[in-house]
């Protein structure tokens, strides 16, 4: 039985810089209990499509140009305010991407959950606060909140990201809606938490027979949970079919590219590691001081890296994986002496660099470089590409005024930037191009060792694949050694020879990448690996028995 039927939906944004057609002639439908995944990169119009169903787009600038969206026969796009309130309250619920910002920090979670009941515009469904609370408590228990009676009175900041997302889910389901829209509900979460939330959504859906629209940028995530997949790009539907058809009999080129972009399987380049140790870290402790606390306070230090030892061999790509807060980034920064080291030693090519003065460290700054996560924050917004790239070259006297231009053009060719954009500023580039500039800066001085801190996690999937290939090519071409930091296990597997797993400031496990994947020794690593979704519906359904 079809409950949602969207026909020829077109949406435009009228901005000062012109009109953007965000959604172009989109049609799809959904039956009771069915799961539709809408997959696309940023700007594809996938969220806009769904927000328009609940009239959540800011108008202006948004305008629905044409189309109908029939929910059980009534048109969502052409209904009055009261009817829309009814739909929002009782029929259709939505879970947003970022659980940190989607709950009101000024109200208790209990209050927020019961609101659709106690403020229900339908007098038949309206509940007294006391009864609403009972329902909320049982739902909180169902979504896995322990001590629900106590937690009912807590504020959002008292919950972790995963727990907040559970609260969001409870809030969405409190009125027993018939359609649940999940807008990238796990994107902001760690991979193990992501697996839990996906499992929870699936379980609740089964119990209630609710239809689900699952929006994601990641085909891998939806492989196991979706019945149908719709791929969007630039506001258009590229492909729409059953999940198996889309994955196994892909028709559209863009979808093929999306699938190909998912890092899958082992490293494709040969291992170039040697037996020579390039960087060695021994018993490293990096502690941040907490200036609001007293020195004697147990929490005066935040122990970001706590007694870590590791070796990086010349020519290898060492992957460093961990979830947020594991200390992996701080470890990388510590090696470059960018973080406050408390104790331990760091040697580079056998020389101690932990105790070097700034001046004596300078030659090593030329040999070690870093690529940062956020291409929007890692470039000075007031410097052109030319200035950004020339800074390290001139500072380390790799180039002089005479040959700087040709070196910079050479560098731009290397990282795949058009020469014509040499005097442009960062804000004129897309995220992927910015990351190319940042990579250019890092390799400018011909370093031997590069630390790449989540270099692709802020990028779209297809861009991510291009940047990973660029990094691999540069490593090959310049014979680089690399420490590659990432939360994304598939990316790490795809790129690294050896891998180190970190959690809570300590190393859990390290070894040859493929050996760890096949045979993880520690329970933490096992959990981590088993949480990765396969971009393959049949395999995924087989593996995730809870489906």
């Amino acid at each position: 039985m079809t409950i949602l039927d969207v026909k020829n939906l077109s949406i435009s944004f009228y901005t000062r810089n012109g009109t953007v057609k965000a959604v172009k002639n989109v049609s799809f439908n959904l039956s009771k209990g069915e799961t539709l995944a809408i997959v696309g990169e940023s700007g594809s119009g996938k969220s806009v499509t769904c927000y328009s169903l609940l009239d959540l787009l800011p108008k202006p600038p948004a305008k629905i140009e044409s189309g109908n969206a029939y929910f059980e026969g009534s048109d969502l796009l052409n209904c009055d305010k009261d009817a829309m309130r009814m739909h929002r309250c009782d029929d259709i619920a939505i879970i947003f991407q970022d659980p940190m910002t989607s709950l009101n920090p000024f109200l208790t979670i209990g209050e927020q959950i019961i609101e659709p009941l106690i403020k229900n515009p339908n007098p038949d469904k309206k509940l007294a606060r006391k009864d609403a609370k009972l329902q909320a408590l049982s739902l909180l228990r169902e979504v896995g909140i322990k001590n629900a009676d106590e937690r009912y009175h807590s504020y959002p900041h008292e919950f972790s990201g995963g727990m907040r997302q559970r609260v969001m889910i409870a809030m969405a389901l409190i009125t027993e809606p018939k359609l649940l829209i999940c807008d990238e509900p796990t994107t902001a979460l760690d991979v193990t938490i992501q697996a839990q939330i996906l499992r929870l959504i699936k379980k609740l859906q089964k119990n209630r027979d609710v239809a689900v629209i699952f929006i994601s940028h990641d085909l891998g995530v939806v492989a196991g949970i979706a019945d149908k997949v719709m791929v969007m790009c630039d506001g258009e539907i590229k492909e729409q079919d059953s999940t198996n058809e889309v994955f196994y009999k892909t028709k559209d080129d863009y979808t093929k590219r999306l699938l190909a972009a998912i890092p899958d399987g082992a490293k494709r380049l040969p291992n170039r590691s040697t037996k020579n140790i390039l960087v060695e870290v021994k018993e490293l402790k990096t502690y941040f001081k907490n200036h609001t606390k007293k020195r004697t306070d147990a929490n005066y230090f935040t122990r970001a890296v706590d007694d870590v030892s590791l070796k990086v061999f010349e020519g290898e790509i060492l992957g460093l994986v961990g979830e947020s807060g594991s200390g992996k980034s701080t470890l990388g920064r510590s090696i470059l002496r960018l973080a406050p080291i408390y104790d331990g030693s760091i040697t580079y090519g056998g020389e101690d660099i932990k105790n070097l003065t700034k001046t004596n460290l300078l030659p090593y700054r030329k040999k070690m470089q870093m690529i940062f996560q956020d291409p929007y924050a890692s470039l000075n917004p007031r410097m052109t590409v030319y200035e950004t790239l020339s800074e390290p070259l001139l500072y380390h006297k790799v180039a002089s005024k005479n040959n700087i231009d040709s070196l910079i053009y050479q560098l731009m060719d290397d990282v795949g930037l058009a020469r014509g954009s040499i005097f442009k500023y960062p804000h004129e580039f897309s995220g992927g191009q910015r990351q190319r500039i940042a990579i250019g800066r890092a390799v400018a001085t011909r370093p031997e060792f590069i630390i790449a801190d989540e270099p692709v996690s802020a990028l779209d999937v297809t861009i991510q694949a291009q940047i990973l290939d660029l990094i691999l090519n540069l490593v090959e071409k310049h014979n680089l050694t690399m420490l590659f930091i990432s939360h994304d296990l598939s990316v790490v597997r795809y790129i690294s020879d050896r891998v180190v797993v970190m959690n809570a400031g300590k190393i859990i496990e390290q070894g040859i990448t493929e050996q760890i994947w096949e045979n993880p020794a520690k329970p933490y690593t096992q959990d981590l690996l088993s949480a990765i979704p396969f971009p393959d519906p049949i395999k995924e359904r087989k593996r995730a028995t809870w489906l």
Binding site: L56, M86, R88, A93, K119, H157
Partner: protein
């Protein structure tokens, strides 16, 4: 929370001490010496002064004894009003100024919050531009200009309201309250518009709408609390501003409040009165700053928690 409260109060004490010390020594550094005998000052005042400030003694001793006096709540005799103590003069003026400040605050909050929230609900429409342009005019039209203009138009030309006094003729409280409150209404309008716009752009407002809450619930229950925190935090400084503004307004409208006393004391070089009043007003301002600070912290559950957990 109690610990935090106490620590904030403890922080205010050195500030108060700085105020008292600075004021005392500034007055004592007055060219020619503030307490040098002057024909206009009656002998009994000089005697009282000498007794209180121990004028024959070194300055630091005078300072210590003055500290002792104000701790027991005694600001000493007035220099120019024979036979009256500073305490009496303050007590005579403060109820009037407090009433004026209260009405002005009502004007400021009522007008400011309403127009600011209204503007934020429909940004870039007439409902936004009209009050915000008025607010800008309010900010650029200081009380010492607005007051006389209001008097000129509504008092003298239209003869609608009395133009001076306080509580003598019905309606004489209207113009002073509006004069004093308008500037702050303008600031509060801008602050509450900014605060509300910030909150209304947050994800959780979208969540609230998606739940099917009515627009009034979204605004009142979900947005106001966070949106008005900047306004609450501004109330402390606004209070200080109202007191300073009362100097002007009470002068223009000839209101016998504490502000007018202060200005007169300044012109009369009534050093003891100025000294006492500065300390008294500063204390009030510091206390109000503290209160508005505490309320704005208390309104934010996260800050509240961070504080009670040390």
């Amino acid at each position: 929370m109690l610990k935090f409260l106490l620590s904030r109060i403890a922080q205010a004490i050195p500030v108060l001490l700085v105020v008292v010390t600075a004021t005392f020594f500034i007055v004592h550094a007055a060219p020619g010496g503030p307490f040098s005998a002057d024909k206009a000052v009656p002998p009994e005042v000089i005697e009282a002064l000498e007794a209180q400030y121990k004028l024959d003694q070194p300055v630091w001793r005078q300072y210590i004894s003055y500290l002792g006096d104000i701790l027991s709540g005694d600001f000493g005799p007035s220099f120019k009003y024979p036979g009256r103590s500073v305490n009496e003069l303050i007590m005579a003026g403060i109820p009037i100024t407090a009433e004026l400040a209260f009405y002005a605050m009502l004007v400021a909050l009522g007008l400011g919050v309403l127009s600011g929230v209204g503007a934020a609900m429909r940004p870039n429409t007439l409902q936004d531009y009209a009050p915000m342009t008025l607010a800008m005019i309010g900010i650029c039209m200081p009380s010492f200009l607005l007051g006389p203009l209001l008097v000129l138009v509504f008092g003298i030309e239209l003869e609608m309201v009395p133009v001076s006094g306080w509580g003598d003729i019905p309606g004489d409280k209207i113009l002073p309250s509006i004069t004093l409150g308008t500037g702050y209404a303008a600031y509060i309008a801008r602050l509450s518009r900014g605060g509300m716009l910030e909150i209304l752009s947050q994800d959780f407002i979208r969540t609230a709408r998606a739940k099917g809450l009515s627009e009034s619930t979204v605004i009142i229950k979900h947005a106001l609390k966070g949106g008005l925190i900047p306004v609450i935090a501004f109330l402390g400084p606004a209070f200080a501003g109202l007191l300073a503004g009362s100097f002007v307004v009470e002068t223009i409208f000839q209101i016998p409040g504490i502000g007018r006393f202060y200005v007169q004391a300044a012109f009369n070089r009534d050093y003891t009165l100025i000294l006492g009043m500065t300390i008294f007003l500063s204390t009030l301002i510091i206390i109000f700053n503290l209160i508005s600070d505490l309320i704005s912290i208390w309104l934010n559950p996260k800050l509240r928690d961070e504080i009670s957990n040390g």
